[in-house]
Structure formats: structure tokens, C-alpha cells
Symmetry: C2
DNA sequence: TAGATTGTTAATCGATTAACAATC
DNA sequence: TAGATTGTTAATCGATTAACAATC
């Protein structure tokens, strides 16, 4: 009777792998395939088969001995664990190269993330539309936070403005911040912070290169 | 007599934190400050002080009881562990939004990563110069790999071309690949792969939002 | 049935945290 | 000296891997 709860905590490394499973399973499903074994998934994505089974169990799906996992239900189960079946609205601040990359990131929709507005302080950018998202004056962020139900704030501004942007998001009632810059943000405990920055990742690479 | 070796393995989570320490310590150094305690570092970056000391010890620096760590030597020690004191040449393939974001990522130089050429297959982009880096025809990658000593290959192409780009890098003798796309690459064991993609990170965020 | 595959439990490995000794 | 800080060791926590039982 342990962990039968839907809101079961899934370890971060598992969540990251699950996102790859989704991409792969969707490909198989589109090809009309109905079942897949943990070994097939593991071989294709270069993970360990036991690990794949452990990961899938955490999403509360079960397979069938000798047959494998039903792709359709497994996909549903993973997407539900990742919360990709619910649509979450997002604001993006900073429409430079990074911001544009996010606005054009085609998997966003598939992950249930819907950018409802982008903000910038550059008058030349304001009013433009990128991938169906209108770029608004950053001044309007507080006002619009009140009007729209937005849970995710994406920070893609120049680094010196990151904390300030986070503060605006918090004041606007956002629940989670996706910080794409190589700095740490100070926010209240209840705010979810997820960091995705190039520096961290590249540091791992440069270190390995020294060996 | 354990781990006195310079090429001591540093855990990945530590490497990621070390990159933040570098940014913070550099800021203090620029402000003319000479020493800092593990607690100060921890408070500023929201890490645990014990963890900071453990991390610093892995870079083989020591502090002084009651005084703290000398900022200059600590910085040198961390940068040396991250291999940021050596310049590593890199090729970047794919000059879309993501590629442009990397080309304009100002910390790159500070991390010792020197992009010597960027490649694209779009004739309109070829010949352009972005942040002092010339964009070359992707056809020239094999030839130039032979001529230049390049250890890092950065993949920022559309996803369907990622594996193909990786193959070209491997054929060209690259040692490490920095893959910015949400897909897994098949490469020989000796090639270092570091993944930095938006999907993985966002998956962690969307999952937490469901709680 | 035999064999392939899942599912479970235990062992291992690795990172974080806690407690406290050493140092200046 | 007393007290602040580092440094070390042990305990804890968490994730991965291995072994093998259960199942169809």
C-alpha cells in the first residue's frame, strides 16, 4: 500500500528520462506499433532496461510479461505523470535569441505549456508577433498577471534583469519560474524554480575534456 | 593519500555548483574583496555551507579557519578543476535561434570555449558574421575538421539533423559533443556527450506544478 | 511447456547532511 | 583565551544496478 497515490514523488533523473520515453513512444505510436518492451526502449534511448521498468512503474503503468508495454496507455500514463495533459499558461520575458528559441520550441505545446504572452522592453520588438505570440511592453506584466491565470514564468532576459523579472513574476502570483540564465534567484519557498542554463551544462563538459 | 591526483573525479552536481561559485567569486574579486567564508558563499547562492566546503575541497583548495577562503586562489582552483583555464576550440552547427543564443553567450570565453567557426546549410546565412564568428557552408565541416584542432562540437540544428551532425563531428575527430536538442545521440563510447535541452528541464517543472 | 518479459527485493553506489574535532 | 571557521568522519538519504521470482 505504498505510493499508490497519484501525486507520488518521482525522482528528477526519472522525470528527465520519462520525457525521452514520450518522444520515442509517440514515434512508435505514429508508426502504428502497439506494444514495446523495456529492452527496446532501453536500446533505442541508451538507458538500462531495469531502469526503464523502474521508471515506468513510478508512473503506475504495468506491462505484460512476454508482451511488453501497451504504447498508448503507457504514453498516457507518462504524460499524466509529467502533467503534460493539462495546459499550463506561461508568460515569457525577454525576446532575444534565447526567448525566440523558446517561442519557437515546437515541443512546448506537446508538453502542455502555452505561452500566452511575451514581454520585452525594446520598443522595436513590442507589437511584433512570434509564432503566434504577441510581444507586449514589459510595463504591462503586472496588470496582465492579475487578469490571466498564468502559472509559469519564463525568464530569458539579460542576466542583470533576471532577479527583477523574478520579483515581478512573484508579485503577479506565478507558481513556477523557469530560469534560463546562469544565476540563482531569490524567491519565496513556495515558488517552484527550475534552472536550465548553458553554463552549468557546459561546465560538466569542459571538466570531462580535461581528463 | 586518496584523491590527491589532479584528475580526481568531481561529481556532476558539484561541477554544476562550482560554475556558480566562479561567477560569485569573480564578482567579489572585482569588488576588491580578498576572502570569503563558506557560509557567505552558501547564503548568497542558496546552497548548504557544508556542501560548499565539500565542493571546494574537491577542487583541492584549502581555507583558513576563522578567515575563510582566499578568493583569488580559490577562483583559480575552481577554474582549473572545470578546465576553464585552457582554451578549447569548438565548432557550432546550426545558426538558428538556439545557435545564435550560443554564439552570443558571453560567458563562453570565460569558460575557455572558443567557437572558431559556425556552420549552416542556408545560403542566406553563409558568409555572415555573428559575434566575430563566420558562418560557413556545412559542406566544409569535414575538410576544416582535419585542418583545425577542435575538441568540442556544438549541435544546434533542427532535431532531425542532430544524429547526422553528430556523425560528422565524430568522423572529424571531435572529442566532446554538446547536444542542445531533445534527442539521444548514438556515438562511440570514447566520445563525451553532454546534453542540455529545454525538454528535460521543462519536464521537471511541469511535473512539480501538478502537486 | 519453455522462454521471454515484467516486477520485486536486496545490494551497491554515490551524494548530501549532520556531528564534531581541529585550527588559528 | 574564546570563538569563528575549516576540515573530517560517520550517518543518512536517494538512485542505480543486480539477482531472481512471478507471470503469461
Amino acid at each position: 500500500m505504498k505510493n499508490l497515490n497519484k501525486f507520488n514523488t518521482i525522482p528528477e533523473p526519472t522525470l528527465r528520462r520519462l520525457s525521452y520515453y514520450v518522444v520515442y513512444l509517440q514515434k512508435l505510436l505514429d508508426a502504428g506499433i502497439e506494444t514495446v518492451s523495456s529492452t527496446q526502449i532501453a536500446n533505442n534511448l541508451m538507458f538500462d532496461p531495469t531502469q526503464v521498468r523502474k521508471d515506468l512503474q513510478l508512473t503506475e503503468i504495468s506491462g505484460h510479461p512476454k508482451i511488453g508495454f501497451n504504447i498508448k496507455t503507457t504514453l498516457e500514463s507518462i504524460k499524466s505523470s509529467l502533467n503534460w495533459n493539462n495546459i499550463e499558461n506561461a508568460f515569457l520575458v525577454g525576446v532575444g535569441n534565447l526567448g525566440n528559441a523558446v517561442l519557437n520550441f515546437s515541443l512546448l505545446k506537446y508538453m502542455g505549456v502555452n505561452i500566452v504572452a511575451a514581454f520585452d522592453n525594446n520598443p522595436e520588438k513590442i507589437g511584433n508577433i512570434v509564432n503566434n505570440v504577441e510581444i507586449l511592453d514589459i510595463e504591462r506584466l503586472p496588470e496582465l498577471s492579475k487578469l490571466m491565470k498564468v502559472n509559469i514564468g519564463i525568464i530569458a532576459v539579460p542576466e542583470h534583469a533576471a532577479q527583477e523579472t523574478a520579483d515581478k513574476f512573484v508579485a503577479g502570483g506565478i507558481k513556477a519560474i523557469w530560469n534560463l540564465l546562469p544565476c540563482r534567484l531569490k524567491v519565496p519557498d513556495e515558488i517552484i524554480i527550475e534552472e536550465a542554463n548553458l553554463m552549468q551544462s557546459l561546465a560538466v563538459l569542459t571538466n570531462q575534456l580535461a581528463k
